[in-house]
């Protein structure tokens, strides 16, 4: 039964297959025709060596076509395909052999021309084995997939390097109409339809082999690198013109035509090409901006140093930053560069200030709202606050110190009052929210002038005004020709900035100078004295360093005379002499010679003493004029020793040379062994720092008093209690530092935050 059924089933199948293959032809003619067609088709498709490619030509294409038709009708195409692919696999070694041969040569020479030859060779293989289109898309597609799979599987890893090299060469090729000699385009690939492009054949080959798809990221990375190297080559260190526009032009002229090949080969019209290039084009444009902004970010410190010559570079950077988000990186780089190159003890405060001002100006170009500036400036401001001479530097540049050529202040900038930190005005119709990367402590500071920014490093402008007084005192006392116009002008300018009230003291100082000229004229008219005094009001001038010595002999007499006349003129005032601030011109009349000298008063005072007695020791001299520094005394004496009026003898004794020593004596005299006193210029006015130290001594007394009577106190309590002390204006941080210093000296102890006097 079963066999019967089976038998019938097989017979039905057989009959079915037979009719399909025989196609209803009489007898077995159909079958014969099919057999012929199959043989022909398989023979035709058989992948053979390129060497005997000619054999293919033998086929009559009409016959091939008709036989494929027969096969297609008999639904035998899948079988044919299977057969074909099997044949292909059997012959793959032919391709592998070629690939290995070319790659071996490439690896030997690293010359990408072998890659191009390999590519063309592979294309030849491809077209040689390619089934005719009549077989239908399915077969073609399967063939392509199979071929590519095989090729990719045999390509060694070094191929991608070679391919990259080859692609990077295409930039040059794309610009010429004839291919370079090394690029041997086989005649089969020379397409007449696009003769203007030498690289057309190569790209066509890439596409045929599916290399474009497979190595897409590689191709774009080649382009990225090409763009990068171009930018680095043309833009590095070139800050005096805007580069972004030329770069974009360069992109249009060079990269876009090249891009047509890999990215828009199928485009029929210019419009179509444009839309195909849009995505990749904007990626490349982004890359241009990114590369340029990276470059400028790396160079930012030097760009700022070069300001204002580097303004175009900054404008480029601004434009780039709008496209790429590299702001955080810029801040980071600049902060790092500042830390490394600016904020260290080796840098002059003046230089730091100059660079800071440049940074302000530069970053205002790059980022007008000032977020970047705020982030970058913070460490600089903190650092400047710690530097002791910052205020002096700023003040010096405020009054336009003659010695330094470039002032921090732009001459063209209008002088305006200091601006206070502004509160946001939300009713302003043009109000804008803070930029998105502004920190929580970001304060919008409206673009204010540089001086306001510098002054705002410190919390109050009082410090500046004080320093200004000190500086003005020094400058006024240094003026000998009675021309105060410059200082007057400065003060007028500063009045605009700091306000009238703050500079009242300076006004008084200036008036003192002119007044003393008048008083002096009056005194001179009463009695002809060889002394010209500058009379200053102690109350308004910063504390001047006290010179505690008294002028001896005739100088004293002259001073007394002068004081008498002054008292007659201004009975309610009293003169207190500050002899060390003057200079004295005197003729020294000795037995054999007269010497004219212009010396500091102490020198003159010592010489005056020698007119009473020939020999003095240093200690005697110091005692005779009151108290002076020993170094200062030695320095004064050395003036006369150098001139040859005094002679130093043993035991610190000095002798007056009434008669000049013979020339030879001087020559043979051993070089003086006395220590050369440090010739530092004594500042005439106490600096703000010294004044502060003086004040701190007073505050210490208060701290001592409260700790004695109130027991242990916390730092906060001490700070509030010190408000009782006059003029106490220290911050709690300053107090903490001070207390810490006192603790190190063993004056106080601290336990659990409570400070206590250290009793023996």
């Amino acid at each position: 039964m079963a066999t019967e059924n089976l038998h019938r089933l097989v017979a039905a199948r057989w009959q079915n297959s037979f009719t399909r293959l025989n196609q209803g032809q009489p007898g077995i003619t159909g079958l014969l025709a099919f057999s012929e067609a199959w043989t022909l088709a398989t023979d035709f498709l058989h992948p053979c060596d390129l060497a005997d490619l000619e054999s293919r030509k033998r086929f009559d294409m009409n016959k091939v076509r008709s036989s494929t038709e027969i096969l297609s009708k008999s639904k035998m195409l899948p079988l044919l395909l299977e057969n074909f692919l099997e044949d292909m696999r059997k012959n793959q070694h032919l391709i592998t052999r070629d690939v290995e041969a070319f790659m071996a040569r490439y690896e030997e020479t690293a010359d990408p021309q072998y890659i191009s030859q390999l590519v063309f060779r592979l294309c030849e293989w491809y077209s040689a084995w390619c089934p005719i289109p009549e077989l239908g898309q399915t077969i073609l597609h399967a063939y392509m997939l199979n071929f590519q799979t095989h090729v990719f599987s045999v390509l060694p890893p070094s191929f991608s390097n070679g391919f990259k090299d080859l692609v990077s060469r295409t930039f040059d090729i794309s610009r010429s109409s004839t291919p370079p000699p090394w690029l041997n385009v086989p005649s089969v690939f020379q397409t007449p339809d696009n003769p203007s492009r030498a690289d057309y054949a190569l790209w066509a080959a890439f596409e045929q082999l599916g290399l474009l798809e497979r190595y897409e990221s590689l191709i774009s990375s080649v382009c990225y690198e090409y763009i990068e190297s171009h930018i680095l080559e043309t833009c590095t260190g070139k800050w005096d013109e805007q580069m972004l526009k030329p770069l974009r032009d360069w992109m249009t002229d060079n990269i876009v035509p090249w891009m047509l090949m890999p990215y828009a080969r199928g485009a029929k019209s210019a419009n179509e090409a444009r839309s195909m290039l849009q995505g990749v084009g904007s990626r490349f444009d982004f890359h241009v901006c990114k590369t340029l902004s990276d470059l400028r970010t790396r160079e930012i410190f030097d760009i700022i140093v070069d300001y204002p010559d580097s303004v175009p570079a900054l404008q480029d950077l601004k434009e780039c930053l709008q496209r790429v988000d590299q702001r955080a990186q810029l801040v980071q780089t600049l902060r790092k560069a500042n830390r490394k190159r600016l904020l260290h003890p080796g840098a002059d405060t003046k230089d730091i200030l100059t660079q800071y001002v440049s940074i302000i100006r530069c970053l205002r170009i790059v980022d007008p709202p000032g977020v970047l500036l705020f982030k970058v400036a913070d460490p600089i401001r903190k650092y400047l606050r710690e530097r002791s001479d910052t205020i002096r530097c700023i003040v010096a540049s405020l009054v336009g110190d003659g010695e330094s050529g470039d002032s921090l202040v732009d001459e063209n900038e209008p002088i305006q009052p200091l601006q206070q930190m502004q509160v946001e005005d939300y009713t302003d119709p043009s109000w804008e929210p803070e930029p998105i990367d502004a920190g929580p402590d970001f304060r919008t500071n409206k673009p204010s002038d540089v001086i306001s920014t510098l002054v705002s490093i410190y919390d109050s402008k009082d410090l500046f005004v004080k320093e200004l007084q000190v500086l003005l005192a020094q400058r006024l006392l240094a003026i000998t020709d009675g021309n105060f116009e410059r200082e007057r002008r400065n003060i007028e300018i500063l009045k605009i900035r700091f306000g009238e009230a703050a500079l009242q003291v300076c006004e008084v100082m200036l008036r003192d100078m002119t007044d003393s000229k008048r008083i002096d004229q009056h005194v001179q008219s009463q009695q002809d004295l060889p002394l010209q005094a500058t009379i200053i009001s102690r109350h308004f001038w910063p504390p001047l360093q006290a010179g505690n010595f008294v002028m001896p002999g005739q100088f004293k007499e002259i001073q007394d005379e002068y004081a008498k006349e002054f008292n007659a003129f201004k009975p309610d005032k009293k003169l207190r002499w500050l002899p060390h601030l003057g200079t004295i011109t005197l003729d020294v009349v000795l037995k054999d010679r007269t010497i004219n000298a212009c010396v500091p008063p102490l020198d003159a005072a010592f010489l005056e003493l020698f007119s009473t007695k020939d020999r003095w020791t240093v200690d005697e001299l110091i005692a005779a004029v009151g108290s002076v520094d020993r170094t200062a005394a030695l320095k004064a004496l050395s003036t006369w020793v150098d001139i040859g009026i005094l002679k130093e003898e043993e035991d610190n004794q000095y002798r007056l040379l009434e008669v000049a020593e013979a020339e030879s004596d001087i020559v043979h005299k051993p070089p003086p062994t006395r220590p050369v006193p440090a010739a530092e210029e004594v500042p005439t006015a106490l600096t703000v720092q010294q004044q502060q130290a003086e004040q701190m001594r007073v505050f210490w007394k208060f701290i001592e008093g409260m700790l004695t009577n109130l027991g242990a106190l916390s730092l906060d309590r001490i700070q509030t209690m010190l408000k009782i002390a006059p003029n106490y204006n220290r911050t709690i941080e300053q107090l903490a530092a001070f207390m810490e210093a006192a603790r190190r000296e063993g004056l106080v102890t601290v336990k659990d935050g409570m400070w206590k006097l250290n009793r023996q």
Partner: protein
């Protein structure tokens, strides 16, 4: 920022008059006088005496410290006092009492009241905190036994051994941390 933190602190109230019914218009000048006295006391550096306002909000209440003068039975001991200024100071004397129990003929051992002529009828506006403190310091070594507040102490004054014993029995230094 520093400016910000300091300005965040609530503004200090003007010193409150210590005594009820004080003339507020004169409080300003009294405060000024007390401030000056404090300044001169701080800068004078007299050994063994010191005083300071108890808080910065009220200049009328001070705490003081007196060290026993050398060569007396009080040598080496430290006494805390409190000083309370009237609102019409310096036309009236400040009220002073010992916080540290002080065994002394002119000092009340329990409440610390002091019997000293310049603090009562002999007061004059030329006196200052500093002179008061100096007077108190010398009072320790030279008591006025004629008008004793503490008769026991006056009685044993002539026998220093016994006096010292009594003194140390009552003396309890005030701890710093309790202030």
């Amino acid at each position: 920022m520093e400016q910000l933190t300091t300005s965040l602190a609530p503004p200090r109230n003007a010193p409150k008059p210590a005594v009820a019914g004080a003339h507020s218009e004169s409080a300003g000048s009294v405060t000024k006088r007390l401030g000056n006295e404090l300044m001169s006391l701080m800068m004078s550096s007299s050994p063994g005496i010191s005083a300071f306002p108890k808080s910065d909000a009220n200049l009328f209440e001070w705490a003081g410290t007196i060290e026993g003068p050398a060569g007396t039975v009080y040598a080496g001991l430290t006494f805390k006092i409190s000083i309370s200024f009237p609102s019409n100071y310096p036309y009236a004397a400040p009220t002073i009492k010992f916080d540290t129990p002080c065994y002394h003929p002119n000092v009340d051992i329990t409440v610390g009241a002091i019997c000293l002529d310049i603090l009562q009828d002999k007061w004059s506006a030329v006196y200052s905190v500093q002179t008061i403190l100096l007077s108190l310091q010398s009072l320790l070594g030279e008591p006025n036994n004629a008008s004793p507040l503490n008769p026991d102490a006056a009685n044993v004054w002539d026998s220093p051994e016994e006096f010292k014993q009594q003194l140390l029995k009552h003396y309890r230094p005030i701890d710093d941390t309790s202030a």
